[in-house]
């Protein structure tokens, strides 16, 4: 069960998207998210959806993987979809007791579902095609200006690298501890919410203790490899803005422009 988590999962590959500079990927993703929420009619939504599908195809990663990235939030999508269905104005299509479905509601639900779905999938493009270190490296560079405000940019980036690295390790450990406690007769599946939370304590305490031990070991291993707080640090991979990035940025700007233009051109439906 814990193996299915897609957070920070990197799938090595050789596609154009893989070769893009992680910094431009992050910036374009941010712009993309803003544009998704600017969409107010079906034409613009269609354009951005087609663009998303194009990006996903360009990564040459199986579509199943993207569907998997949705599995974690499928309930969120369904739930917000249902809520939006009953929330809106317009012609009444169906009415029963306090429930009333209107054309506005249907539109709302449709927009919310499409938006969240493509948002998740395109965000997955970033994590699937960028190695964790590249990602944190890029964030470190992008946040560099913040260091004038005494934000410890390097430390934050390192913490993210380590967090991403240890998520699977700690999940596996949680599984092991849970099994060990179950073998001793711990009951974690029955009872009400409070009882279940309480039953988790014998799992969390050993997990904390072992995390501290791991942290101690890791700090020592880092010291052995001359870690000195990131002073005079060089990089194996140099990030540079290539032709692919320029090309991708131009295309994205055109598409985003088209979305905003069609937005004003046609009547907004939500």
């Amino acid at each position: 069960m814990v193996r299915d988590i897609t957070l920070g999962q990197y799938l090595p590959g050789n596609s154009i998207i893989h070769k893009m500079d992680p910094r431009s990927k992050i910036l374009l993703l941010i712009a993309y998210i803003v544009v998704i929420f600017l969409c107010r009619n079906f034409v613009s939504l269609l354009i951005i959806s087609l663009f998303s599908i194009l990006i996903i195809l360009l990564t040459r990663i199986s579509f199943l993987k993207y569907l998997k990235s949705l599995r974690m939030i499928i309930f969120v999508i369904i739930l917000t979809g249902i809520f939006n269905l009953f929330y809106g104005t317009g012609n009444v299509l169906f009415e029963w007791w306090i429930f009333r479905i209107t054309t506005g509601g249907v539109n709302n639900a449709l927009f919310v579902i499409v938006r969240i779905t493509i948002l998740m999938m395109v965000s997955a493009v970033l994590t699937y095609t960028t190695s964790p270190t590249d990602l944190t490296d890029a964030l470190e560079r992008l946040m560099k200006p913040l260091s004038i405000f005494h934000v410890k940019v390097h430390e934050i980036a390192l913490m993210m690298t380590i967090a991403l690295r240890f998520i699977p390790v700690l999940l596996e450990e949680t599984d092991k501890i849970m099994n060990a406690q179950k073998a001793r007769g711990a009951d974690m599946e029955s009872g009400n919410v409070f009882q279940r939370v309480k039953a988790l304590m014998p799992v969390l305490i050993p997990l904390f203790v072992s995390s501290f031990r791991r942290a101690n070991d890791l700090a020592m291993a880092m010291e052995c490899r001359c870690y000195n707080g990131g002073k005079n640090k060089t990089r194996m991979k140099i990030l540079y803005f290539s032709k692919i990035d320029l090309f991708a940025s131009i295309i994205s700007v055109i598409i985003f422009g088209a979305v905003i233009f069609t937005n004003t051109l046609f009547q907004p439906v939500i």
Partner: protein, 296 residues
């Protein structure tokens, strides 16, 4: 042989608030010398101070009294800390806890990046290090998909990429299965033979110690005895007194000798043991065979 590391009368104790344990020294006057290019195994039972000693070689711990010189540099010299850590690499027991980055090659590059090696050179160093330990084809993998032995080899590659003169391995095989253990041990021997890297292997597997040039036995924070594997493992009784085991083959021959058979002073592995027994059997053909079987 050129002395690479000199340990001179080193004492060490862990910080403790407990008044009664103030005088428990983990290291109790250790003296030893490690030659350049040597393969030294340090053995001892749990709590003998062998792991504590391992962390002294590259200034992770500093002696309370006494001095350690690496390449003539005192490990207490704070200005040359990185010179010491660059020349003496340390590999720890748990492979999971010493891998920093989420991709194999990026983890191997971590040490070089900290040292400020130019990017192009890092690339070639990383590739070479990964080829040396036989993990090159896994360079873009995530470490959590590897086996224990593979992870440990990645950790070793991370140290090799820094081009150290000496690698200290603190029980690198303790958490591995037999196959992973073989992978790691043969990698270490390869490094010693082909690249001339000094190896200090801390272990409690006597079978691993047998393959070293020199064995140092530690007990309660002191060096108990040292010498070639033959010299050390011929003292079976003394090792047993200090709760240490000897390789199975050595023990068998020792016991047989105790029964009055004419056998060599000390054998170290199965092949030698088989040869010695075959020799014994052919020499006393009449009835000899039955005797051996009965008594052993």
């Amino acid at each position: 042989m050129d002395k690479f590391i000199q340990v001179c009368d080193v004492y060490f104790r862990y910080d403790s608030d407990d008044e009664s344990s103030r005088n428990n020294f983990a290291l109790n006057g250790v003296n030893m010398e490690i030659g350049r290019g040597e393969f030294v195994a340090v053995v001892g039972h749990n709590g003998s101070g062998k792991s504590t000693l391992a962390k002294h070689f590259n200034s992770i711990y500093l002696p309370v009294a006494g001095n350690i010189y690496v390449n003539g540099i005192n490990t207490k010299d704070d200005d040359r800390l990185f010179d010491i850590r660059k020349s003496v690499g340390l590999v720890l027991q748990n492979p999971d806890n010493q891998i920093v980055a989420g991709i194999v090659e990026e983890d191997v590059a971590f040490g070089c990046e900290n040292l400020g090696v130019p990017s192009k050179e890092i690339r070639s160093r990383v590739d070479n290090a990964l080829k040396t330990v036989g993990m090159y084809e896994y360079r873009t993998h995530s470490p959590d998909k590897l086996s224990g032995g593979q992870k440990q080899r990645v950790a070793i590659a991370g140290i090799i990429a820094m081009e150290p003169e000496c690698i200290v391995l603190d029980e690198p095989t303790a958490m591995l299965d037999p196959q992973g253990r073989n992978e790691v041990i043969s990698t270490i021997h390869d490094l010693n033979k082909r690249m001339g890297i000094t190896i200090i292997l801390i272990t409690h597997y006597m079978e691993e110690a047998v393959l070293a040039d020199r064995v140092i036995v530690m007990d309660s924070g002191k060096v108990l005895t040292e010498g070639t594997p033959k010299e050390v493992f011929s003292k079976v009784e003394m090792l047993k007194q200090h709760r240490l085991s000897v390789p199975q083959a050595t023990e068998l021959i020792h016991k047989l000798k105790g029964c009055g058979y004419e056998l060599p002073e000390c054998v170290l592995d199965e092949n030698e043991c088989a040869d010695a027994l075959a020799k014994l059997l052919t020499e006393n053909k009449v009835g000899g065979k039955n005797n051996v079987i009965n008594k052993s």
